[in-house]
Amino acid sequence: MSQNGKPKVAFFDFTSCEGCQLTVVDSLQDHPDLLAAVEIVQFREAMSEKGEDYLVAFIEGSCTRESDEARLKKIREQASIVVALGSCAHLGGVNSLKYLHPLDEVRRYVYGDQADWYDTYDVRPIEAVIPVDFVIPGCPIDRQEFISAVKALLLGKKPFIPDYPLCVECKLKENTCLFTRGKVCMGPVTRAGCDAICPTYGQSCEACRGFISNPNETAMRDVLTKHGLTVEGLTSMYTMFTTYQVRETLLQRKNANE
């Protein structure tokens, strides 16, 4: 807490497009009072001042090399609350496409088998390195959700991040389902919270917010294949942002079977 009673927050970036930080800046357009509610002590993209004393750390970007780990751990030591900001930090995100050669494995994920993964320093979400208290998902994050999360933290409650499928929001938007428009969509297994913005603008959901915690994978696979998706198509749908999750799930299944 700073002297004026405002909690000190800092923003950090790792491997990312910095679009989530930009979204934070954008959120000021509708919520200039954010600056009155918190004291920002570090935000490299937008300011030169640097404070090392902060309560909440918002971290953007994935961990992509060993040297990132030390920096992450330092942040974790200082911050009481660590929030992963956006898909790269939350899931590994689009960065994890970098290692996407083993399409076979993803295929096996989708088809429920186990797989062998090679071991390498891979792109990883920050939660794979340090404990994360909260996540604000999305590529990029949703402005409104960011502001709501800040308010929740200020109030001392957990930020509300939905754990139900995107279709919930998509229906309320009264979108004609993409599946009936001859496209396919990850909505039924993807975490809602973006107000189904992609289907609303006519594009398939690519699961940038990650999967819900209890997806019906089998039913989803049946739906996708029924709508003409080939194995390659399926693979590509499942890996845009979630390569890391798919791998992890597979590894867990493999270990569980051993």
Binding site: D13, F14, T15, S16, C17, E18, G19, C20, Q21, L22, T23, V25, D26, L28, Q29, D30, P32, L35, I40, F43, R44, E45, A46, M47, S48, E49, K50, T64, R65, D68, G93, V94, N95, L97, K98, L100, L103, C139, P140, I197, C198, T200, Y201, G202, Q203, E206, E232, G233, S236, M240
Partner: protein
């Protein structure tokens, strides 16, 4: 005299870069901008993915010029697949592109550059000392973002753009609303020009080669030929003759050079090369700001951005007029006429010339990609400027030197996360 400047992670720029300047016995030993951003292998990531995904993946190269990357990507795919977008598609793309240029320039000019001139470390203290300035910036940024949102769903990582067209169309009422707001924003634009006309730009001149796209009848942002201030003019497809990308040891980003050791892209290059095509009001603004081609002070890149803010607002108004006049139809994307194929898409994103070069296989999957990013093209020139500037300021206190150098780096508006795309994948 010994001096060492080491700015570890220049702030208020996009991405991570360090300034290292070392002066030993009055001799410049080191003078460089290290790009320490993690390589992101975007070109490798594209390989094997369906071409429809390419623009979604490449927009994630950079949150600030996401629309620019998406547009260049779509143009590359369209060229590769002989897709001819409709007039409506072209107008909508230009409109959202203006939104992004405005957003980026306002962000850069007001939030990243202005604090240096007003003697503060960021925009946050400005909120108390110059609230009207900050509110104006936020207002203009919001309008810019809303232009993108109306056309493509959102600015960062646009949604509704696809190969051949759009998957969602703005309603006339939404466009009318934007039109009104743009007209009303002229007041803010005038204030902006007035504000930047009062700034004391550092005096530093160094002529270089200025490279940009050009089109005969409009100030080129999407498509066009590549033109340079040294007189070269060539089709986009021949971009490699200009860019000559090469790796340097201290940077995870590639550098480029053309006729000289280095060249400059961005608002200043566009201004120098395409001044005649600027909107008359933008030319007036240039006069107010004291700009006349050819401008060779790199610090004035920020002033050229202000000129472009004027141009984009005016051109956006004209585009909306045109769209409303012809009506918006929910048309299907233009069809793919040939597959496989190879294509080059070029745009002038906020920071300069952006090139996406794609190879698409028979199955519709990407077999190769090459992206040339404006910041990479600028890095060599920026270092050349640093090298030329350092002796001129070597007598100043180290803090001032450091600030001058940082301001120079910021003037280029470098987008370092864009610049690191080391791995190139050519079709086998």
């Amino acid at each position: 005299m010994n001096k060492r400047i080491d700015v570890h992670h220049v702030t208020r720029v996009e991405g991570h870069g360090n300034i290292v300047v070392e002066i030993e016995d009055g001799r410049i030993k080191e003078c460089r901008l290290d790009v320490v951003e993690t390589p992101r292998f975007f070109e490798a990531m594209l390989r094997g993915r369906p071409y429809q995904e390419a623009s979604h993946i490449t927009s994630r190269i950079c949150g600030i010029c996401a629309t620019g990357h998406a547009t260049a990507s779509l143009r590359a795919s369209e060229k590769a697949l002989s897709v001819e977008p409709s007039e409506q598609t072209q107008l909508l793309r230009k409109l959202t592109f203006h939104g992004e240029i405005l957003d980026s320039h306002v962000l850069h000019a007001y939030m990243l550059v202005a604090p240096d001139f007003l003697g503060v470390g960021s925009v946050i203290p400005l909120a108390t000392s110059h609230p009207e300035v900050v509110l104006r910036a936020l207002r203009m940024k919001k309008l810019a973002g809303d232009i993108c949102a109306v056309v493509t769903g959102r600015h960062t990582h646009p949604i509704a753009m696809c190969v051949g067209g759009f998957t969602h169309f703005p309603k006339p009422a939404e466009l009318e609303n934007l039109h009104q707001r743009l007209v009303a924003a002229r007041a803010d634009v005038d204030e902006t020009v007035a504000l930047f006309a009062t700034l004391h730009w550092p005096q530093f001149e160094r002529d270089t080669e200025y490279v940009s796209l050009t089109k005969p009848d409009e100030y080129a942002f999407i498509d066009g030929e590549i033109i340079t201030s040294d007189g070269a003019r060539l089709p986009a497809e021949a971009y490699r003759q200009v860019t000559n990308e090469h790796l340097v040891t201290h940077s995870s980003a590639k550098h480029t050079r053309h006729l000289r050791q280095s060249y400059m892209v961005g608002a200043l290059a566009r201004f120098n090369n395409n001044y005649p095509q600027l909107h008359p009001r933008a030319k007036e603004a240039a006069a107010t700001l004291g700009l006349k081609p050819k401008v060779t002070n790199p610090y004035l890149n920020s002033a050229a951005q202000v000129v472009e803010i004027v141009h984009c607002v005016e051109d956006a108004i004209a585009i909306i007029d045109r769209l409303l006049e012809r009506g918006i139809t929910s048309e299907q994307p233009a069809p793919v006429k040939a597959i496989p194929g190879e294509g080059v898409g070029v745009c002038e994103v906020p920071r300069g010339l952006l090139i996406h070069h794609y190879w698409i296989g028979e199955d519709g999957n990407m077999t190769g990609a090459d992206c040339v990013i404006p910041t990479n093209q600028n890095l060599a020139n920026l270092e050349a400027d640093m090298l030329a500037l350092t002796p001129l300021i070597a007598e100043k206190p180290i803090k001032t030197m450091q600030l001058d150098l940082e301001m120079l780096v910021r003037a280029y508006d470098p987008c370092i996360s864009c610049s690191v795309h080391v791995l190139e994948v050519e079709p086998k």
